[in-house]
Symmetry: C2
Subunit: 342 residues, 2 copies
Amino acid sequence: MTRFGVPSILLFFAFLITPSSFAKDSLDPLPSWRSGAVKTSILEFVKKVTNPKGADFVPLADRVATFDNDGTLWQEKPLVQGVFMLERLKVLVANDPALMENETVKRATLEGLGFLEHVHGKELVELLNLTQTNLSQATFDSEGKKFLESARHPRWNKRYIDLTYKPMTELLGLLRKNGFKVYIVSGAGVDFMRLIPNTVYGLSPNEFIGSSFVKEMRASGGHSDFWILPQIRSANDKAEKVINIDLHVGKRPVFAAGNVGGGGDVGMLTYSKERQGASLQLLVNHDDATREFSYAETNDISLAAAKKFGFLVISMKDDWRNIFGEDRPPAVREHRKVPAAN
Amino acid sequence: MTRFGVPSILLFFAFLITPSSFAKDSLDPLPSWRSGAVKTSILEFVKKVTNPKGADFVPLADRVATFDNDGTLWQEKPLVQGVFMLERLKVLVANDPALMENETVKRATLEGLGFLEHVHGKELVELLNLTQTNLSQATFDSEGKKFLESARHPRWNKRYIDLTYKPMTELLGLLRKNGFKVYIVSGAGVDFMRLIPNTVYGLSPNEFIGSSFVKEMRASGGHSDFWILPQIRSANDKAEKVINIDLHVGKRPVFAAGNVGGGGDVGMLTYSKERQGASLQLLVNHDDATREFSYAETNDISLAAAKKFGFLVISMKDDWRNIFGEDRPPAVREHRKVPAAN
């Protein structure tokens, strides 16, 4: 007899016959989230849209979720593709010091990461063109991969790809387990994001929607490859995110998540909110200077939209127990059904 | 005892215990194809890329198939979206007879379907802008749906959506059953193709890659909808098909199919052919004036490319037993294993 008064042989059988789905469901799918209104709302939302008998049921084919990446799924101070740009710039300047005669190149080189804090759109395009175009796809991919596999964040001395928000990757898992097709919809380049190792988000290349350059196919010696031209095809931010979701997905997202940062996700979240039928929108608020960062937007555009349209605001400070996986999830006691003796 | 000398009760049990997959596998997956080199090559290709022990195995995540639509999956004389354009034009002209002062409108109106045989790119864009833009998405969708559900081909008096090639829809089914993700990559508009009833090809909106117009989101009264602007964003033909496959899929197709028509698929088929690892390309040749049409290209561009790169050419006349489902598949004798008496 065990100390619970049940013969251990029965417990053994209980283990054998417990369907594995039951065992899994009894675990908290979001252990890095603190209990509270936000976590409860997410769990209840997923439950109601997947309940075929409920009024808010969403058929499998319509379960589309779209997530911003920078500042929503991983940290954005500094912007990861911006760091890649600066790293490429260093190499280019070392090979061709005359580049320093260009004012933007000079400032970016001298200021380093700080430059990314105040870079303007025009300067960004200039430096992206210089560092990430006029290349074959193979060269871009190989340089980007090397960068992502090694570059580390100066504050945590961790690789950028290891600085994803644990609560959010848990959420991606929960949604996928419930039949959602998850897309990342980011202002970053689609080609850059596709180089993030599959182990980070578990997405396929077709599930990334991002900014893009004009490309052309070039062939030589029976082999063909894309050539990336210094011309932007789509700058996937604000209204353009909505246009690209329509082009790539063709359905309004049932679930959408963005962050307070540049107001870039308000359009996507509103697009989701105005879908016919159930929907949920999350907005990550960076209010945790201790564990991550604390920053706001001019005029609080995103927070004002959240209030107006009813997006759920996530306080990193209050709603997330664990940000980068620094804590282990609490031990979870599994409750197993014990069959009645017969 | 049956005439085969097996007790019928045993046959009955054999039926019960035969796994359904066995019963299905024993059926010809391509009954509308005539036996021959093309059919054999397709079946052997699917077998080898799905055999995990073979040298040509393609992992599930890489099983991408891309199909042109007009002339590859359904008939293209006349082009279905072209007929929609002419139907919309009739309505516009009836409402505003002054439109007939426009030379292109006048010719299209007077010539009818014949106009589509010799329309130039510039005229096409002019009439597409006139008939399929400056509309809300809701209006476009509703008009397009009505058209597709009712419009009939003058020769067969069948709806266009019922004039898909049976051998090709069987092939889509075979590929999907073997884990392929199938995309339709067409010069037609992505918004138009998404209105094809799901029962026709069984694809989701995200599995259509097509031409597109510039759109913007317009909101009124708490409701938002896209507005289609008279400006082409992407003309998904020739080289642009390859660029869009990269943008939407991010992988070279293992399987690609196009047709002899305007040379529009050579780029896509070559892109597939040059992938590292196993791949198969099909080119539908319209050589059956009796059951469909017989037409060729200037300089036989596509057939020349097929010869050069090794695409498999489908002769509609010889390789397809059944084009539009006019014949029933032949009775297939199912061979069932009979369990040994014990």
